[in-house]
């Protein structure tokens, strides 16, 4: 039975790299690239061909990461989320990851659909959607820093960190 947690951990890492990798791509690369591309009239290449594909892998990688993480926790799922004895470190990591998943599906994706023209929206609605999606995405970059700290050491190195 040790086989399944090992597979879940592997999948959690694979999907997590894709999720957070694309999150960092959006924030460290695409936001600045869009500004430059809008200035020389080439933004359509990104909005039409790159962003929809990146968002597809981004949002589903988030789901797979969360599910694989829940599978790793197994019967420690509730103790982790209730921050019970010895589980507070990994529990905070799990909570941060869960908030980030909500941001992806509840804020980033619905607003990106308006921005990219997948959902009808007026120019005013698009401008508002841009700001909400941007701040939700930046919030996830901010949360990813403590999330990865607690995921990396919150359980396996909890003693070393005094957690």
């Amino acid at each position: 039975m040790d086989f399944l947690p090992a597979i879940a951990r592997w999948v959690h890492f694979l999907a997590g790299v894709m999720w957070i990798g694309l999150l960092y791509y959006f924030n460290f690369v695409q936001v600045a690239a869009m500004k430059a591309a809008a200035a020389d009239g080439t933004a359509a290449g990104i909005t039409k061909h790159v962003a929809p594909r990146a968002l597809l892998y981004f949002r589903w990688a988030a789901v797979v990461t969360w599910l694989a993480g829940a599978a790793i926790l197994g019967n420690l799922f509730v103790p982790a989320f209730t921050l019970s004895k010895g589980m507070a470190g990994i529990g905070v990591g799990a909570w941060l990851g869960t908030i980030m998943l909500f941001n992806v599906w509840g804020l980033i994706w619905p607003n990106q659909q308006k921005i990219l023209g997948m959902k009808p929206a007026t120019d005013e609605e698009k401008n508002k959607a841009r700001r909400v999606a941007f701040l939700a995405s930046r919030t996830n970059v901010m949360l990813s820093i403590p999330m990865l700290f607690f995921m990396a050491g919150g359980w396996s190195h909890r003693a070393a960190f005094g957690l």
Binding site: N27, L83, V92, R138, M142, I145, P146, F149, F161, L163
Partner: protein, 31 residues
């Protein structure tokens, strides 16, 4: 006051500060 999330450095520094805060919060929870 400017929103720190408007800049990448502001975002990263906010994340590091939050890490330190949460670390001490977690340590204060009885093991």
């Amino acid at each position: 006051m400017k929103n720190p999330l408007d800049s990448l450095w502001g975002t990263v520094i906010s994340g590091l500060v939050l890490t330190i805060i949460l670390y001490y919060v977690v340590r204060s929870i009885p093991a």
